[in-house]
Symmetry: C2
Subunit: 147 residues, 2 copies
DNA sequence: CGAACTAGACAGATTATCTGTCTAATATGA
DNA sequence: TCATATTAGACAGATAATCTGTCTAGTTCG
């Protein structure tokens, strides 16, 4: 029978894994010479879908309030990384979309993510990594009330 | 061959799983009537070991600077949840230790963690959950440069 | 012993985050 | 159809969290 302290270890493990990915991706962007984005901005920007995403949805996915998400999107917009367009399906809403100016950052982050997953697969094996992926996907029904 | 966007999904999955655990544990503490702790404080406090932990180590584990960790520990100390004692093995250092006042919070959080893991095990099976645990443990060598 | 390093404190600034309120647009339902 | 409730997002203000930089005391090691 597992103890709370072991349960807690799982939390730590999820945290360090996520944090490691995030930090390395962010560092890769900085290493590519893009230094005018903060971690919090990048976290929100990374949730923007190819066809644009509403601020409310970004807030939900990043688990911050709409106000916080809007604040970060404002900064990304001022720096030219995103633009806001009217949402054709709902006149209240606006879609946030990445601009071409964001492309180098996306590519740097993406390339680093590929490297990370390669290393992880090397370390624990492709099969175990895939199994973990699938388990986390299934758990999402519990861990992600939205979507 | 996986795409960057799939890699990124893993990051999201790790994030939502961790965030779900953290939020539920925190909510359980609040539901137990303990309302004078913030999430950031709880995050640091949860890393304190049974025999006390140095501020520097807490900072490392929570991935914040020493200054931030010290700031949060100050608040926890002012609220009576932790105390600072001299570290007998190093006169520069001080150990942060949880007080009896923290016990109800620890118990509320621990009980919720047990519930969460029970639900997860029900959802994906005990074996798959354990496998994920082991994989994350092995990955820690890559994801957690310290320890 | 002396240089380099480590733990933590102090100061100051910035960033991220929240609660609360407001308007406009949409959805619902009698 | 119209009143009501809900949703998207903006605006204002306050607080919390976080960082960089600097400093002192203590430790380690050649």
């Amino acid at each position: 029978m597992p103890t709370p302290r072991q349960q807690q270890e799982l939390g730590v493990l999820l945290f360090v894994a996520n944090r490691s990915m995030e930090q390395r991706a962010y560092d890769a962007v900085v290493a590519a010479g893009i230094t005018d984005i903060t971690v919090a901005q990048a976290r929100v920007a990374s949730r923007i879908g190819p066809d644009g995403t509403r601020v409310s949805d970004l807030a939900e996915q990043a688990r911050v309030t709409k106000q916080t998400a809007a604040y970060l999107v404002d900064q990304l917009e001022a720096a030219g990384y995103v633009e806001r367009l009217p949402d054709p399906t709902d006149r209240r809403a606006r879609l946030v979309r990445l601009t071409d100016h964001a492309r180098p950052a996306i590519e740097a982050a993406g390339a680093e993510l590929v490297r990370i997953l390669d290393e992880w697969a090397d370390h624990v094996g492709e099969d175990r990594l895939s199994a973990m992926f699938e388990t986390l996907r299934d758990l999402r029904e519990l861990t992600d009330p939205w979507r």
